[in-house]
């Protein structure tokens, strides 16, 4: 038994925002009440902290199998709990691709052995994510995938997307798409704009994303399948999602901390600023902040994309895309949207909990009987992120050396404290 004393419980599902104690027992929440007394329980003093349902990251890359120099399921799951995440959804673009049940099971076995954050695999939509034929989605669902995606690239054609969606609607799975028009994005290494022009780097226009979002939204309308837009970065894309929601379509989207924090003007010849989708314009960032506030954005997701140093320590246009993100996500969200007064704390918790859960067709709540996955965080703990100290195997973060106010303080998975700051 674990008794969390003196915390402020925030539960978006019930709207609870009150000073309460929480008693965990046998992997479940046993009791939530003011002033619980449980003499036999271990006590965790959460004075000054927020006690929230466990955070879910809808989008990460754990690199195993295939690129264990950059990350493993164990190191990634460890970095995740240091970021306050109790469950992370890993994308299928591993080697081999997670396009069949045996890969899915292998991932889940390693995650169970690591015993840190829960790992919820996302299966490939097409075999090998090659965009040709359907992957073994039903078998993967049985093995434990929570959604499908060809992330790293878009689902190749409108017709394939339609088939995937028809199939996934029947299976009750959300289709997650990395929206990018390959021809508009060809060869690009950052967002097209004044900065790409000045640096002489090839840029992709914002439309490289939004034309694909438009295709996807229309196809969601055609099929009725839930559609989730991964790492949405452009204002035009957000407008399409907003319109789709207004039309009653099951369309959701996530944004990453780096896209609501940085802009293309921040890019320099430093591969830690190279990610896909690339950092957007000042106006795009403002639109994302507005979307986070007004409810158009459903979730904050990290797109944690580790790459070992040797891969990133190259010319800008030859480096792979992506940055690590677990350990800075909450702090960046607090910095950008809570401390700045844009959204209340409850909405922030929603973006990390009930929001991503809904995308997957799940529930997330902090209530008696619910699984004892909890994230305890401080909104004012002062600290500095040093990539060198990350639990990830990789160091590719543009936020290395950044100082923050607010951090995860303890992460609880299945009633067990897996991380304590």
């Amino acid at each position: 038994m674990l008794l969390i004393k003196n915390g402020r419980v925030l539960d978006p599902a019930s709207g609870t925002d009150a000073a309460m104690d929480v008693l965990l027992d046998a992997g479940r929440v046993a009791k939530i009440a003011p002033e619980i007394s449980a003499p036999s329980a271990e006590v965790l003093d959460a004075r000054g902290w927020i006690v929230a349902p466990g955070f879910i990251d809808l989008h990460c890359h754990l690199r195993e199998p295939g690129d264990e120099n950059s990350e493993t399921i164990a190191t990634g799951a460890r970095a995740a709990v240091r970021g306050g995440f109790t469950a992370v959804c890993c994308m299928p673009n591993t080697q081999p691709v997670n396009d069949n049940a045996s890969v899915t099971r292998a991932i889940l076995e390693r995650a169970a052995a690591a015993d840190q954050a829960r790992v919820w695999p996302i299966g490939a939509a097409s075999a090998g994510s090659k965009g040709e034929s359907l992957a073994e989605i039903a078998a993967m669902k049985q093995a434990g995938i929570v959604a499908v995606s060809d992330d790293g690239r878009p689902i190749a054609s409108a017709n394939l997307l339609r088939q995937v969606m028809d199939y996934c609607r029947a299976l009750g799975l959300t289709v997650v798409d990395h929206c990018e028009d390959a021809s508009l994005a060809a060869g690009a290494v950052m967002r097209e704009g004044p900065t790409s022009a000045r640096l002489g780097l090839r840029g992709m226009p914002a439309a490289a994303e939004s034309v694909c979002v438009a295709r996807d939204v229309q196809t969601a309308g055609l099929t009725g399948c839930p559609l989730h837009i991964a790492h949405l970065s452009a204002r035009a894309s957000l407008d399409l999602v907003r319109a789709a929601k207004r039309d009653g379509l099951a369309v959701t989207c996530e944004v990453t901390p780096h896209h609501f924090t940085l802009i293309d003007e921040d890019v320099r010849y430093d591969t830690r600023y190279k990610m896909n989708p690339p950092l957007g314009s000042r106006e795009d960032r403002q639109a994302l902040l507005n979307g986070l506030a007004d409810g158009t954005v459903d979730a904050i997701a990290t797109d944690h994309a580790p790459h070992e140093l040797a891969l990133k320590d190259v010319e800008f246009d030859r480096a792979p895309f992506g940055i690590i993100g677990f350990e800075t996500a909450l702090a960046l969200a607090l910095e950008q949207i809570v401390h700045s007064g844009r959204i209340p704390l409850m909405r922030l918790v929603e973006l990390f909990t009930t929001g991503p859960a809904r995308v997957l067709g799940r529930e997330r709540r902090l209530a008696e009987g619910a699984p004892a996955d909890l994230t305890l965080f401080s909104t004012n703990h002062a600290w500095t992120f040093h990539a060198e100290e990350s639990a990830s195997k990789s160091r590719n973060s543009p936020f290395d050396g950044r100082s923050f106010r607010g951090a995860p303080m303890a992460t609880i998975v299945g009633g067990r404290v897996v991380y304590k700051r």
Partner: protein
């Protein structure tokens, strides 16, 4: 390091100890307090630093017409030339500049290098560095590659062209050419014609001349002249885009013609014949510019494509002066970055020349 940094600092700093006479900057460091150990681009340089570099190029310009062109100034020094992209004229210009200063050169060319065997850029330049050159001149197809290397080696790096980013020695030699012909860099109307989006020459020229209040008119096929280019210059720099070459040339003092890179034409682009029809600089079109307008081209020229041979060989063409000035600018940079003479070029060269003459 920072042995080389201190070596290179002599040339910049020693003049600081001299009494400061006129308003003109006496050294690079006077122009801007912090020393620049590399020449990575024109963008970070101030107008004063640029004028200093051009002034320092003057004595080397004179040497090009001297019967004995070889100095001993950099005798014992080694210049590494790493060209990760095909180049003939820039590589020859740098190696000749090094030779005329008495320096030895180490040559690495992409086709001869181990890059094709999968070695990383970093490993390649570290290998070169281990052979102890005094500076590294590099060309690379990736924008920012020289800056990447500069952050990881302790020797001065000179950017000889990086992707579509900058070509600072081209910018300097263009400026030297313009200043020689027109007496000043200030306030000209500059027309730039062609594939500006992919041109490092255009960027370096815009950064350089933009610092002297020049106004730019960009003209070329729309996909090569996107709106974003209007903001690439220094703050307040006037850059406009026009669709018709006639409009671009109207009233121009300086016309910079860019090479049409044939390899770009296969990107969804317009047919070569259309390019010639719409954008070739012909004698008739040039008459729309000021009568004394200068025509510059970074070379190599595609005669009959972007430029009519009559213009290329005409009295307004500066093409061959540009080539000669390129030597002077590159000699000046090598001298300033790795020279140990402890003075400015103007003082140093007569002494060095004596040495060279005595040797002959």
């Amino acid at each position: 390091m920072k042995k080389n940094a201190s070596c290179s600092s002599n040339a910049w700093t020693d003049s600081r100890r001299r009494s400061r006479t006129a308003l003109a900057p006496q050294s690079f460091e006077d122009a801007v307090p912090q020393r620049l150990p590399h020449i990575l681009g024109i963008e970070p340089l101030s107008a004063e630093q640029i004028l200093f570099l051009l002034d320092q190029s003057k004595p080397f310009q004179e040497i090009q017409s001297h019967p004995l062109k070889k100095l001993a100034t950099l005798r014992g020094k080694t210049v590494a030339l790493a060209f990760f992209e095909p180049s003939t004229r820039t590589r020859i210009s740098f190696s000749t500049a090094a030779a005329r200063l008495g320096a030895d050169t180490m040559n690495l060319q992409a086709e001869a290098s181990s890059l094709r065997k999968g070695e990383s850029l970093l490993d390649t330049v570290r290998t070169l560095d281990a052979m102890k050159p005094d500076c590294l001149v590099m060309r690379h197809s990736s924008a920012g590659a020289p800056e990447f290397v500069a952050g990881r080696l302790d020797i001065p790096i000179i950017n000889a062209g990086d992707g579509a980013h900058e070509h600072p020695t081209q910018g300097l030699l263009d400026a030297l050419t313009i200043r020689d012909r027109r007496g000043t860099l200030e306030g000209w109307n500059v027309a730039i014609l062609g594939d500006i989006l992919h041109s490092r020459v255009a960027r370096s020229d815009i950064h350089l001349l933009g610092k002297f209040g020049c106004r730019f008119t960009l003209c070329g096929p729309a996909m090569w002249v996107p709106r974003e280019l209007e903001s690439i210059g220094p703050p307040g720099c006037a850059i406009r885009r026009v669709a018709r070459i006639e409009e671009a040339l109207d009233g121009a003092d300086i016309v910079i013609v860019l090479r049409v890179q044939q390899e770009r034409m296969h990107e969804p682009a317009l047919p070569l014949d259309d390019y010639i029809l719409l954008y070739q600089l012909t004698p008739q079109r040039l008459r729309l510019a000021r009568p004394d307008a200068l025509v510059l081209h970074p070379g190599p020229m595609n005669r009959g494509v972007e430029i009519d041979p009559a213009v290329a060989d005409g009295p307004q063409s500066c093409v061959l002066e540009q080539v000669t000035n390129g030597l002077a600018v590159r000699m000046a940079l090598l001298f300033l970055l790795i020279g140990t003479g402890g003075g400015e070029a103007a003082q140093e060269i007569p002494r060095a020349k004596d040495v060279a003459d005595a040797a002959h």
